[in-house]
């Protein structure tokens, strides 16, 4: 049943085994929109928009480091919530990164399955 407040439905997007890689990262498409699933250094999962919000580079080729995902184009760094935490090419002291966030989809990992809370409107 879908209502105005329905946050979406849980959908299996991968298995824990599929993400058991030296570089734990997979591209995921949900309702036609591209995302990237990764495990950070703390072991937690992130499912965030696949294109860097700077100029659109493909984060599936990102550098999995510093407990997040770093875009190879200009080093913008995102945590597992999609929040930008660093813009190393911007001037010292710039706070622009605090305003930058990639779309994020909540995920949970239960009994070897990774499930995402897919929004009904697929925003």
């Amino acid at each position: 049943m879908t209502t105005q407040t329905d946050p979406g439905h849980w959908q299996v997007i991968a298995t824990t085994a599929q993400l058991d890689l030296p570089r734990p990262l997979l591209p995921v498409t949900l309702r036609g929109k591209p995302y990237v699933l990764f495990r950070d250094d703390a072991g937690a999962l992130g499912l965030i928009g696949r294109h860097c919000p700077h100029r659109g580079a493909d984060l599936c080729y990102g550098r999995l480091e510093d407990n997040g995902l770093r875009c190879p184009f200009h080093g913008w760094h995102f945590d597992r919530t999609g929040q930008c935490v660093e813009q190393p090419a911007e001037p010292e002291g710039s706070k622009m990164f605090t305003q930058i966030k990639v779309p994020m989809i909540p995920v949970e990992e239960i009994n070897g399955e990774i499930r995402a809370l897919v929004p009904e409107d697929a925003q």
Partner: protein, 407 residues
Amino acid sequence: MISQELNDQMTRIGPATQAGGVLRHYWQPAALIDELAHGDKVPVNLLGERLVLLRDAQDTLTLATRVAAQGEPAVHYPAAADIEIDTNGPTYPVVEMKGVVFAYLGPGRPPDFPNFDCFRAPDSHVFAFKGLWECNWLQALEIGIDPAHASFLHRFLEDENPDDSYGKQFRDKAEGANMPITQLLREYPRPDIEVDETSYGLKITALRHLESDLTHVRITNQIFPQAICIPMSREMIITQWHVPVDDENCYWFTLFTSFDSPVDKDLMRAQRLKEHVLPTYAPRKNKSNDYHYDPQEQATLTYTGMGLDINVHDQWAVEGMGPIQDRTQEHLGRSDKAIIRYRRLLRGAIAAVEAGRRADLPMQNRTTTAITGPLSNDAIADRQNWQDVCHQMDIARRAACSWDATL
């Protein structure tokens, strides 16, 4: 972020489009002379038009329209014998310059060529090549006017010996410092960027302030509407056009120009043929094979994990944005200063073309042939007088040049 309408205006290049109207007022690289090895009819896919370069018995070149099947690939390259000329389609003037056939697809008289170094140097000192990128021309151009990305995208986690650098970008030593440029770019990732409007487009200065009051200065240029001119090594500069095949594919055409020895064309060609597939000049590393991405290499050697060839890094960055970058989702920063200025120039040019004010476009009047340079250089100088040092280094390089490179 910009609107979808503005993104369409700036990126679409078909015959009745706004950006397409601007590009058609300038000579466009259409083919390499090397491609005439294909025969006397060479397919040319340019600005959304399906054309053919013809060579007659007197070696005269013309560009005509060819008959194209619905839905043929963007870079369709039929055998000469299979090409049928469409006599109802337009024909266009062409001229050969330094191994590249330039075509004029616009209205009225074509503009003069500026007296840039790549056109002034003798044939022995200029080498031409091209390559396919599967994306819109504007994102291909914008990476070339973004001086900050070299500190990340092209980062080498180790430095190789600059003595093995011939014919490659970013492998030389910076002039005035005993430090490979790779090391300098890595250690100083936040350049100050200055952008100046010029007669030819934009002069872009990236300043990296080093220790002991030294500054690394890298001067690059945007040549309106769709070229860049940048240093490659102490010996050579690159002049590179990003030429639309259609809205979602483009070729880079590059003239490598030497201020020192004649260009070793056999070596330069062999280096690049190894990375491309003829006859379409499609790169061997591409989206379909993940650009040979290697996570282990990314962890230890290069920032991208895609090998040492920086052209592949650029190709990945621009193709990964999608066929036409969705600029309604972008967030430009201070590092994108030149991109912002360029878009202002392009929008001004779109307005001028629509209003019939051709003389307001860059390099469209009688003074175009007097435009020289542009200065493209990497240098290290005292923080206080980097402008003088850059200028003097350029003058010295030109004075020592075997061909007339004086300004």
